[in-house]
């Protein structure tokens, strides 16, 4: 009998298939036992289910603490045995789908999460276990115990699911490599053991990718940082923390100089706070751009484009054009975009 069955006699393995994949999303916490995000199943495994898949690994210290961690896993059932030659592909699919869930969560709200490519992915087929491990092997247990979490509330699952679906469609659409690269940079800034000064440098690059490099036809009158501030003002409105305004008006230029002159590490600036201030406009901007890349959305904005002479321009140019006009006192273009919130 498993140790967990002695301690909690009613717990059993609930999986109704002997072929499945499990990938922990480190930091994720939820109250419900199972939640659906898009086409993915998130499961709060009980200790019996966890011991079944991790029994090949000597995890004695964690057995008693398991319910303090209460980790959540991406669960992927298979209706047929997983062939050995398919392990690599199945593991990659687990990694990709979990990364998409993590990205959706990070774009929805701030918090600490870690993709399973850094921890572990497990495939089980007819009692054969295949494990792909990463350098942060046990973080899916350690992070919740350390309070490094991202809590999915019951009423948030649908919205996170919407972000996930849009992300999936965007990633499968041609010509979205630049936006995927921005998202990668955004995710990279969350990577553990990357020093804050490096994360700040990565985030500044991502800010440049999102709010700069705009077509001359848009005839911008504002800077990239003006537009980053504008996106915050437009999205958050009256609840915007004045510290954001102070940051984007007065602090970001010296910060950018410090990065260029390689003096960021020697400053007394709170770089963790700087990271937060840079991440939030990126979260909003990426979510908007993901929607704008959808072809049906592009069609619905043809009038807006025509009114400003922006026909033929891409989603990024459109977004920045609207932000530019908003920052200059014309809210109408942004109000058109507001109809697309998701």
């Amino acid at each position: 009998m498993l140790i967990s069955q002695i301690l909690r006699p009613n717990e059993i393995v609930r999986f109704n298939t002997p072929h499945y994949g499990l990938a922990p999303i480190a930091g994720l916490q939820m109250q419900d036992n199972a939640v659906v995000i898009g086409d993915q199943i998130l499961l709060r495994c009980n200790r019996a289910e966890w011991e079944t898949v991790e029994r090949g690994y000597v995890f004695k210290d964690w057995h008693a603490d398991y319910y303090n961690a209460n980790p959540v896993f991406l669960f992927k059932p298979f209706d047929k045995p997983i062939a050995a030659e398919s392990f690599a592909t199945a593991s990659d699919d687990l990694a990709r789908d979990a990364a998409r869930v993590v990205t959706a969560c990070r774009l929805y709200k701030t918090g600490r999460l870690l993709e399973p490519i850094y921890t572990v992915r497990i495939l089980v087929t007819d009692s054969f276990f295949h494990r792909v491990v990463g350098p942060y092997r046990t973080e899916y247990l350690a992070m919740p115990v350390d309070g490094l979490t991202w809590c999915l509330e019951a009423n948030e699952a649908q919205d996170v699911g919407l972000v996930y679906e849009n992300l999936k469609i965007m990633q499968q659409t041609e010509g979205t490599d630049p936006l995927c690269a921005v998202i990668d940079q955004f995710n990279l800034s969350h990577t553990p053991a990357v020093p804050n000064y490096f994360s700040v440098s990565v985030l500044l690059t991502a800010t440049e990718m999102l709010f700069d490099g705009v077509s001359k036809r848009v005839a911008l009158k504002t800077t990239r940082y003006d537009r980053a501030l504008q996106i915050l003002r437009w999205w958050i409105r009256d609840g915007l923390d004045p510290a954001f305004t102070e940051f984007y008006l007065n602090q970001i230029h010296p910060l950018r100089n410090a990065v260029q002159h390689h003096t960021l590490r020697n400053t007394e600036i709170d770089l963790a706070e700087v990271k937060f201030r840079l991440q939030v406009p990126l979260m909003i901007g990426i979510r908007l751009l993901i929607r704008l890349y959808r072809t049906e959305v592009d069609a619905s904005l043809s009038e807006l484009k025509q009114a400003h002479g922006w026909q033929g321009l891409g989603p990024k140019d459109l977004l920045n054009g609207c932000l530019d006009r908003g920052a200059c006192g014309d809210p109408a273009p942004l109000q058109e975009l507001m109809k697309l919130q998701g």
Binding site: V58, R137, D184, V194, M209, V214, K316
Partner: protein
């Protein structure tokens, strides 16, 4: 008291049982030895790990250190931290050496385990209780987030060391130790972090290009110049080329990288630029990463040899620019960046019979 610090090197495989690095070694530990370190010589569950361990044995970096005996006899977490701090600096240098030699960043050993083994005739004679304590509890050890995982299996190594790699790797390790004060500068650390992150699993090739070009632009084009793309590609190529004839080829490769980054910044589709690439983007990025390692090594070597040169008094950038317009420009550059190193450092891909297939490293 002398003891051996044994740090597991995640995903490093080698053909040799022992690789001599001067005053340290990369070694193979028999399974029974590892059980002793863990204090699990009589453990049935641990015995089951033998097959996996012995089939693809992990490698350990072994360094003998001299410490206050109190740190060993008083087995507290604080003392383990002190012991770990003693080897931390050299471990960083070894990680850099493995990265710059093999071209791919290793998983940092800090995520794995370091054992502090005081067993020796002298120590056991002097401290009679040592054997009994180790037999029951194992040696003192520091676990990272991966705990014992990498110390129990090595099925998918990312760095494979052949017999022929031993001497050049040792030379590279000597280089990284000697130049540690230089590569810790923020400007080089940024480039080094970018290179390290390029080995991050799950990071797609466009993001690797972003990382590499951004980091190297900061190094090679620190102030805005006209024709930034051309300047970036040319200066980078000058540092990478071993012969003048290679310059235009490498410059072409690097212009492409800059163009791709520019496309991503401006939100342009990448297809047009990708058509100019004759290999897959993934192969291209792997080669650019290696070029990055070569260039960074040379820059650090130069800076180490010229510690007093900095800022506007540094002639390097103007010498790089003059290579194109002066007939002896390339020779002048080679003289400037060569150093007092007795032997030049080499990278794994430059060593004879350079093809390294991880499958060629046979399981023991």
């Amino acid at each position: 008291m002398q003891l051996k610090a044994l740090t597991c090197l995640p995903c490093v495989a080698s053909q040799a049982e022992v690789i001599d690095l001067g005053d340290s070694r990369i070694v193979h530990l028999p399974f029974a030895e590892w059980l002793v370190l863990e204090g699990q010589s009589k453990s049935a569950p641990y015995d089951k790990l033998d097959l996996r361990y012995s089939k693809n044995p992990p490698r350990f970096w072994e360094k003998t250190i001299t410490v206050d005996s109190n740190l060993v006899l008083n087995r507290t977490p604080e003392n383990v931290r002190v012991l770990a701090d003693i080897v931390e600096g050299e471990l960083e240098a070894l990680v850099k050496a493995l990265h710059w030699y093999a071209g791919a960043a290793p998983i940092h050993p800090i995520h794995s385990v370091t054992y502090f083994d005081p067993r020796s005739e002298e120590n056991c004679a002097k401290y009679s209780e040592l054997d009994a304590v180790i037999s029951e509890h194992g040696v003192q050890r520091r676990y990272g987030e991966s705990e014992k995982e990498y110390a129990t299996q090595n099925e998918n190594p990312t760095i494979a060391l052949r017999l022929i790699d031993a001497v050049p790797l040792a030379r590279m390790f000597g280089f990284t130790r000697e130049t540690q004060d230089v590569w810790k500068y923020e400007e080089y650390e940024l480039a080094s972090q970018s290179l390290r992150l390029c080995s991050t699993p799950g990071l797609d090739w466009p993001s690797r290009i972003m990382l590499l070009v951004s980091a190297y632009e900061a190094l090679f084009v620190p102030v805005e110049v006209p024709e930034t793309q051309k300047t970036f590609a040319w200066r980078f190529a000058c540092l990478v080329a071993e012969r003048f004839e290679e310059l235009s080829v490498w410059a072409g490769w690097l212009r492409l990288a800059y163009q791709l980054r520019s496309d991503m910044i401006h939100g342009r589709p990448l297809s047009r630029t990708l058509k100019k690439m004759q290999i897959s983007p993934q192969e291209y990025v792997a080669i650019i990463s290696r070029l990055g390692v070569q260039a960074l090594s040379k820059l650090i070597r130069y800076r180490h040899a010229h510690p007093d040169v900095e800022g506007t008094s540094d002639p390097l950038l103007s010498v790089l620019d003059s290579v194109a317009i002066q007939t002896n420009g390339f020779s002048v550059l080679q003289s400037l960046i060569s150093s007092d190193l007795a032997e030049p450092i080499k990278h794994q891909w430059q060593i004879e019979n350079a093809h390294v297939d991880i499958a060629d490293t046979p399981p023991q």
